[in-house]
Amino acid sequence: MSGAVIRALMFGLAAFAPLAHAADAVPTEKDAVAASRAVKLAEQLRCLVCQNQTIAESNAELAGDLRRQVHDQIAAGKTDAEIIDFMTTRYGDFVLYKPPLKATTVLLWSGPALLLVAGFGVLAGVLRKRRTVGEPPPLTDEERARAKRLLDGDKPEDKP
């Protein structure tokens, strides 16, 4: 093959290179608002494959497909709530990084606050007890007499 043909082929390939990325839902530069909405939504949605990443971060193929869904639905004029709803009807609340407040998640949401209150309760109890421990009971007359003898240097009477 001559150099010119190779060069022409390479040029042809380079011209098609952008298509390689077209399948992924990298927000287009067309609409900056839509792009930032897509990113914001993608950051709220969990990748089901690598569960500790959002679909914005994940390289899993499913994450790419879900980003594309988000992108397409924004283009179709869907609201953010509708897109979130689309995801939860298919994948459940698990797909949301921030779980919604409902009957089954009340403990999850209130747990930290309850623990904090309980912690303060225990702390208050401990402090109150420490204060009462700080004041020893008054000495009886007998004890007072014995202490006086010891302090005065007499031999203790109970020495064998």
Binding site: L48, Q51, L62, D65, L66, T89, R90, Y91, G92, F94
Partner: protein, 177 residues
């Protein structure tokens, strides 16, 4: 013994029970919100007859399985012999959803490993998979006569899951009108 010392012990024991139970749970298994909901509809090209299309409407009135598979899916190989066996027993139609796969590769895979499917349809770009909440292939759904999803197996079908859950459920659903 001071009764107050029992409180931390009790907390520890409760925590241990939760953690112990957690040991046996698979974090990859996310309960599907689609259980007991109408199956998402689709109409897709058949793998072997690209001129024809098969959809959820064609399956109305009978109990059927939807098995999501792909030629690139490693754990599909694990469950495939079970499906081939189930296909031979002719208990229930099994529809294969060839998920994000090259049709040529999918057909080749079935030739090589056996074809248990009544029909296979092609979900080239994975959109139907998303509608069905698919996130890890293989997955298997049991759909009843009314077109409602009644069970979802995430990951490969095991012999226990097949004999103790899927087949009994299919028979029960088939007995219903």
């Amino acid at each position: 013994m001071n009764k107050k010392l029992l409180i931390p012990l009790a907390i520890f024991l409760v925590l241990s029970v939760f953690l112990f139970v957690g040991l046996w749970r698979d974090p990859r298994e996310i309960p599907s919100p689609l259980i007991d909901k109408p199956a998402p509809t689709f109409k897709l090209t058949e793998l072997h007859q690209p001129g024809k299309a098969l959809g959820t409407d064609d399956m109305k009135g009978q109990v059927w399985l939807l098995n999501v598979w792909a030629s690139w899916c490693v754990s599909c190989r694990e469950e495939h012999p079970l499906l081939v066996e189930l296909g031979k027993r002719k208990i229930v139609p099994i529809i294969g959803l060839d998920y994000k796969d090259e049709p040529v590769a999918g057909k080749g895979w079935l030739t090589q490993n056996g074809d248990p499917y009544t029909t296979s349809v092609v979900d080239r770009d994975g959109r139907v998979g998303i509608d069905w909440g698919v996130y890890g292939v293989p997955e298997t759904f049991v759909v009843d006569k009314q077109g409602v999803i009644r069970y979802k197996q995430i990951g490969p079908i095991t012999p226990q899951a097949l004999e103790q859950t899927i087949v009994p459920l299919v028979r029960k659903l088939q007995a219903q009108s």
